[in-house]
Amino acid sequence: MKILLATDGSEYAGMALDYLLRFPFPEDSSVILLTVIDKRVFVDAESVELTAEQSEALHAVHHTVREEAQAFLDMAAQRVGARGLAVTVQLRSGDVAEEILIAAEEAQVDLVVVGSHGHSPVRRFMLGSIANRVLTYSPYSVLIVKQPEAGHSLPGLEGEPWRVLLAYDDSAPARKALELCASLPLGAGDSVEVVTVLTLVTGFRQDIYQHLNPVWQQKKIAAKAALDGAVVKLHGSLPGVTSQLREGASSSHEIIEAAEESGSNLVVLGSEGKSALQRLVQGSFTGNVARHAPCSVLVVRED
């Protein structure tokens, strides 16, 4: 698996690196560490008239920032290397989200990893503009790393097993997410919960009608069968697989609630590659889960 980790030396980026180092990637994975120097921070020396002194000072600052970024990248690369993964570094400058997307495309990565804000209900809502843009526009899978909930340490450490929640609806992207979960080298204490949500119209209690209807009951049986199929596939490669069939007005709400109830530290979901219209119509599920989930979220996209 080819992974691109966008890092900026901040607390969130450090957390994303820590998470990445503990993530149970397949052994042959390689990592590109990328730092982007935000071009908006520096005055464009050519477009503004500067005195020789100002220009020199600007260059000096630019130089320092690059040096610091490079030093940070090298340090991070050492840590990734020590984990046994092949690693390269890239230092770019420009619009941060745009450069992350360009670098991902150039290297044809499988996964882009970005850090996001913390876990309090308000901050949970704030995905961060970079993470949000990468999630919205990336055609590749995206892992958004969030700070662990209070009282929890990073998964992968002693006493903190991986508790993965896989949102599954038997669609092509969901099957891709299932495959990815099956390929993770999880340990004996780790667990995976597969959750399928059947949405129904609860306004004016139309759900009571729906529950009584044979078509709905057939739909439920089919969903249960697909869910059981997914569990069987995972059982072959993973320990501790459970499943849950939930019903509710909103799939994203149910997934978030399920993650909260079972104390998940990673939510995995499949998402279609998107055109602008699809982003508008279908983007809400992925976006809502990424924004409101109490833990890190891995959005798996089709090739």
Partner: protein, 355 residues
Amino acid sequence: MEVSLLQLIGDEAVLQAFVAELSIASLLGIIVVSIVLLSKGADWMIDGVVDLAERTGMPKIVIGATVVSLGTTLPEAFVSVMAAFMGNPGLALGNGVGSIIADTGLIFGLTCVLAAVPMNRFILNRTGWVQVGAAVLLVVLAVIPLLRGDPEPVLERWVGFLFLALLVGYLYITYVWARQGSVMLLEEGEETAHELMSIGKCWLLVIGGLVMILVGARVLVPAASEIALRLGVPDDVIAATMVAFGTSLPELMTAIAAVRKGHPEITVGNIVGADVLNCLFVIGAAAVASPLAIPENFYYFHFPAMLVILFSFRVFISMNRSGVFHRWQGIWLLAVYTVYVVLGFALNVESAHPV
């Protein structure tokens, strides 16, 4: 979790969770508040409509068929569009057709029995044709795929766009007829017994009243269903009663308030308008959201029932040269509706609200 009033009304999951946690006494309290909202809202709206009609010279029946109907069909539209988006298109179609049957058979039938309903023939003759025409068009478009031998007939997305375009046409032509109609006949020639409100206040009462009705219905149905569920009332009984009438509650409350205040012609307008809108707006918008599969029982049960009720109504309009709907006509509509409900249970036909 702290929730705001707006979240309670707007967010489905929040409302459900809130209702589920309440005690029976609190639920009863909520039901009382909802009923007050519904009846006060309907009263205000009718007051607003009556003065608006006098101020603008628009017949009440026209305001009933446009503004009031657009408001009272919002629950059906909301449920149907949500259902179509969520991949339950049958529910969407069922809501539209089921509401036409309940509004005309039950609510208008009841109004006719309770009050002498005057009719503005100039307007009703025309909008009545639109009412029947929209339903016939729906049935014809539903039968075409069946005749083509399609094993799973659907109302395609283009039908939805066509219906929405026709809806715009309907609203425009109603406006034109209203202008002609108000010139041709001074409505009922009644004397104004009170001081008229300003147009702004009329609109405030109409819109404010509508909002109160919609909020009341939205909260009443889950609260009443929750109590029934806790008391062990079977799901199918709840489905056939409070859930079935839930989305038609605004029309029912409007009809009651209109009869009570002596303006039953608003109900005629509301029912005709709601029938047209259930077809063009509710089913149209749902079909645009997602093509609507047509379950088999619609062909042999729900569509025929809808057509019998609508054609009866249409015939009554032509018959009533005296300018008033007769009580026996209300009894006929109620009888057809009762036969429809009883037959549905006896033959075990799935309700018009399948998944």
